[in-house]
């Protein structure tokens, strides 16, 4: 079947609960060896400062399999997903000095690179376009302050907590919204629920995230 079936959390809403639990279990098991958000930032910094190949190898080991997974879930075939994942990692190497931990966490930064590469792939445009459109201000400027970095870390943590607190049906819709350029109507078809339900779940999920935002500003 399609790449969608590789990722638990689609197709049949009834399968979601045990599947979601499985992900949590897997994550718990891997936690010991997974680099922390601070370590990931340090690794990108090492690549930027000294072209540290060992640091890059660790970034590759963490991100490449997840980026590929994300791209497959977004509808790319295995080979294409791997090719784009490689491009993403090359961009991580080349753009490491542009990474600003005072603006985004490491995974968020890599996500935006993967997202832009996916846009280019699907729309067959050059990466300059997507990059310029989505990050018109990504120039290295002042080094980030410790305060900025702390604010970003807090934001990343807050967003993760807010996502965890979402009911599974809302979380599913948010995930699906990030996986592909799918209009809500298509998501509704895929999940076998009415379009109105998809829209109201999106609204509920966004309200939840908004509560977080409002408490944050």
């Amino acid at each position: 079947m399609d790449a969608a079936s590789l990722y638990i959390g689609t197709g049949n809403a009834r399968q979601l609960r045990p599947a979601a639990r499985l992900v949590v279990l897997n994550e718990a098991r891997q936690k010991a060896v997974l680099p922390s958000p601070e370590e990931l930032i340090g690794l990108i910094d090492a690549v930027a400062r000294t072209q540290d190949r060992n640091a890059f190898a660790r970034l590759f080991g963490y991100f490449a399999p997840r980026v590929k997974s994300f791209l497959m879930r977004s509808g790319l075939e295995d080979a294409a997903a791997e090719e784009v994942a490689q491009e993403v990692m090359i961009a991580v190497w080349r753009k490491a000095s542009y990474f600003d931990p005072g603006k985004a966490g490491a995974s968020t930064w890599v996500f935006t690179i993967a997202r832009n590469q996916r846009i280019d792939r699907l729309r067959r445009t050059s990466s300059r376009t997507a990059d310029n459109l989505l990050d018109p201000t990504d120039e290295p400027d002042m080094p980030p302050s410790g305060e900025d970095i702390a604010i970003v870390a807090q934001r990343e943590e807050g967003v993760r907590k807010a996502l965890e607190s979402l009911p599974i049906d809302q979380l599913t819709i948010v995930r699906l919204s990030f996986f592909a350029e799918k209009p809500h109507a298509e998501i509704a078809r895929e999940l076998g629920i009415p379009l109105g339900t998809v829209k109201s779940r999106v609204r509920l999920a966004l309200n939840r995230l908004r509560t977080l935002l409002d408490s944050d500003i």
Partner: protein, 216 residues
């Protein structure tokens, strides 16, 4: 400058997810350039993407992928610095936002009495319906509704309708629930960047005005 009109949560989430067409995304990018509040909102939505990436179940890679990637790094040229070209279209009489620097912008063309437009081409996305619009001070636009989403970022001057007044920096997102009768402010001409989403044959005012002229 206080900005009172912002893109919706839905729109920013779609933008963060990479699911917004490049036309509307351009309009939102111009808004983000001038709106710290929305840059912060956008950062939250992008962080949602980061969290989703973190929780993706890792899939196996070809055994030699890392080696091949390292080989490519040897030959990859230095990242060219983005050349920041100055406004290529001085005849428009306005300074274009940075987010538009790669766009091709045509000259002003007549669209109606006191009403001009200029086609905006986004590299790689020739079919997007994006344009600059210029209305004379005090111009009354006909009342109209919308069938798709219409994104409009005010660049200069002002616009008012039943819902409020729009100043430079404001973004108006008008969907099918919006019927309005916009009026250009008396103080000066109004220039805005607009993008249409969806089937423009069904679009309201802009679709009707532009269709015969540009074949949108």
């Amino acid at each position: 400058m206080t900005i009172n009109h912002h893109p919706s949560d839905e729109t920013l989430m779609r933008m963060a997810a990479g699911a917004l067409g490049s036309g509307p995304a351009l309009v939102v990018s111009v808004h983000l350039e001038g709106c710290a509040v929305c840059r912060n909102r956008m950062a939250h939505f992008e962080a949602v993407g980061g969290a989703i990436l973190d929780e993706m179940p890792p899939v196996p890679l070809a055994a030699d992928l890392f080696g091949r990637t390292m080989e490519r790094l040897q030959v990859v040229q230095q990242l060219q610095t983005k050349e920041r070209s100055v406004n290529k279209h001085p005849e428009l009489g306005i300074e274009l936002p940075r987010a538009m620097q790669d766009c091709e912008v045509g000259p002003w063309k007549w669209l109606g009495p006191g009403f001009k437009w200029s086609k905006v081409k986004i590299p790689g996305s020739p079919d997007e319906k994006v344009m600059l619009l210029k209305g004379r001070a005090g111009l009354h636009l006909p009342a109209h509704g919308h069938t798709g989403l219409e994104f409009m970022q005010i660049l200069s001057g002002s616009l008012a309708d039943e819902r409020g007044r729009y100043f430079p920096g404001d973004l108006d997102e008008a969907g099918d629930d919006v019927d309005h009768r916009p009026v250009v402010g008396q103080e000066s001409d109004c220039v805005c960047l607009a993008a249409l989403e969806g089937d423009t044959r069904l679009h309201g005012l802009l679709g009707r005005l532009l269709r015969p002229i540009v074949g949108f």
